[in-house]
């Protein structure tokens, strides 16, 4: 069906406010990733969900960042008390699970949410 979708596409917020970013993965993809991309930079891994396993949070830059994935599908990335350095594009990707024999674990990306913290 459709590709990975993310909302909102753009978000402008004031320093100190909380924001929630949403990701709808491709149907059937059990693996979901969040990345952050600062201007002119590569992608920085944030967090990874695979099925019902505990998420890999090793990339989260601080405890202001958290994410959840409800029902094994939609995921929400929350940034509390936003700072100006949080301004970036937040990208979500989904894939088949890497451990599934024969499945391609290629990650397919959504269009991203452009976050600007004033």
């Amino acid at each position: 069906g459709a590709g990975v979708s993310q909302s909102p596409s753009n978000k402008v917020t004031e320093k100190g406010k909380d924001v929630e970013l949403r990701c709808d993965p491709i149907s059937g993809h059990t693996a979901l990733y969040w990345y952050r991309q600062s201007l002119g930079q590569g992608l920085e891994f944030l967090i990874y969900f695979q099925g019902n396993s505990a998420p890999d949070k090793s990339g989260l830059p601080s405890d202001r960042f958290s994410a959840e994935r409800t029902g094994g599908s939609v995921s929400t990335l929350t940034i509390q008390r936003t700072q100006q350095e949080d301004s970036a594009v937040y990208l979500c990707a989904s894939s088949f699970p890497r451990s599934q024999r024969g499945a391609r674990e290629t990650q397919y990306f959504g269009p991203g949410t452009r976050l600007l913290v004033l």
């Binding site: 990975v4 891994f45 890999d56 674990e105 290629t106 269009p111």
Partner: protein, 113 residues
């Protein structure tokens, strides 16, 4: 440390030329590599991938070459078109189940008519 880098941040070519974008990786345990294309304002788009048991893979107008001896990856684009203008990222999968891809910083390809 584990990182994926690109040799050149920018590459400018004429329409119709062949383009070669290079990438060096440092993790010898990586067993899967992907090239992505990212156009302005969009998310990265899958182009082509290759597993470590191969040294070459061809797609439509694109070829990926893998040299494990020197840990080098390249993307060749034949007959480059203006629509190929974008940032190209290579990414490596470090070989552990569930580990996220490691991306380089990207090469900006500019194609002039």
């Amino acid at each position: 440390g584990e990182s994926v880098g690109l040799h050149l941040p920018t590459l400018s070519v004429q329409e119709g030329d062949n383009s070669i974008i290079n990438c060096a990786y440092s993790n010898s345990a990586s067993d899967y590599f992907i090239w992505y294309k990212q156009e302005s304002g969009k998310g990265p788009q899958f182009i082509i991938d290759i597993r470590s048991n191969m040294d070459k893979r061809q797609g439509q107008r694109v070829t990926v070459l893998l040299n494990k001896t020197v840990k080098h990856l390249s993307l060749q684009i034949a007959a480059t078109q203006p629509g190929d203008s974008a940032v190209y990222f290579c990414a490596e999968s470090p070989g552990q189940a569930g580990t996220a891809l490691i991306f380089g910083k990207g090469t900006t390809l500019s194609v002039s008519s």
